[in-house]
Symmetry: C2
Subunit: 214 residues, 2 copies
């Protein structure tokens, strides 16, 4: 399903946040959503079981493998990927509805999803890679997730390295030294992207009648 199936009355903006697990992306995303009224979160679908504290329909839509595969087959996913034994994907419909309503949409997806979404978005996507300031810090944060075994932590570290190797594919790079600074950086990027000429929707009427003589 392509994003152009629905006519969009405003040039909406898709903002992608990617990072290795444990680099602080989820916290940054939550703070950004609280600070910005015109931004909504894209909720991914996944076949993995919920972790303690995760809210169905808010953190993820938790679906069966059969349901997930049916949506992919029907072209109802903007992007999808397999991570370890689980599937993750972005249903197209809520994104199209949000953009059509004039809202910007925030995506918390990995490099594979970003590559696919970039195709579907046709230029209406800005991508940000959040980097941890150093590797040991990342390890520390990953280890603090008490519910995970050392094996899982090690697998996550390997995956984090793989994920981080894709930073050169992103439009913007934010190094997460402090939460406050990173939230401000990501918010500045969102503000600037909205002010890009092609996305401006608040131009005074008089400028539309101006014609360049050169």
């Amino acid at each position: 399903m392509s994003l152009s199936d629905n006519p969009i009355r405003r040039r909406g903006l898709m903002l992608v946040l990617s990072s290795p697990s444990g680099a602080g992306k989820t916290t940054i995303a939550r703070r950004l959503l609280q600070a910005d009224e015109n931004l909504v979160m894209s909720v991914s679908s996944t076949t993995r079981p919920p972790r303690p504290g995760e809210r169905p329909g808010q953190d993820y839509d938790f679906v069966s493998v059969a349901r997930f595969q049916a949506m992919v087959a029907a072209g109802e996913m903007l992007e999808h990927a397999q991570v370890f034994d689980n599937f993750y994907g972005t249903p197209a419909l809520p994104v199209q509805q949000s953009l059509a309503a004039g809202l910007d949409v925030l995506f918390d997806i990995d490099w594979q999803g970003t590559q696919q979404l970039r195709q579907a978005a046709r230029g209406d996507l800005a991508s940000i890679f959040i980097l941890p300031p150093a590797v040991p810090e990342l390890e520390r944060r990953l280890t603090q997730r008490a519910q995970d075994s050392p094996d899982i932590v090690q697998m996550r570290m390997a995956r984090a390295g793989d994920e981080m190797s894709h930073w050169p594919e992103y439009d913007y790079i934010v190094v997460n030294h402090t939460l406050e600074a990173s939230v401000a950086s990501v918010h500045a990027i969102l503000t600037a992207e909205r002010l890009k000429r092609d996305r401006q929707v608040g131009l005074p009427d008089f400028v539309k009648d101006l014609r360049s003589r050169t």
Copy 2:
């Protein structure tokens, strides 16, 4: 003279503010310079006489027509243009020195200058057009410049219309509803441009060793 004559140890950023006269650009620029330590103003050279209150070397370098034309002939101007009977231009040397010192440079130039600077900058330029919220407001602000005669005001209005017709050539558009909001918008653009992947200079060492496997 090209900007690449000097090796630049950091990918510096040139930020252009253009607007019709009276749209608030100069005030926005001044506030931005106060708020940001890493930003310096490019001082233009002009052959017009100083206005009351203008400080030589800070607002403009006031030079003779002979001196101006000698600089242009020697290739020492990054851009130059004639406006009414006066010449305006940007000397290349101070800009190159600032960029080489790791500073970003702010330019208060018109559409003609921006077109020339875009050639010299080779991608290291972000351009912002400041629009007034409405035409009558612009007229009011122009009329408040007590030292100008009605004829001059009328000539300025015609020039403002011409200048505004070039807004589609700029990367970003800021409508100057309030000074506070406009300064915040321009500052967000500057922050975001610095976070672009190719301009990042603060990346952690470990990411430079990562290689993507895809």
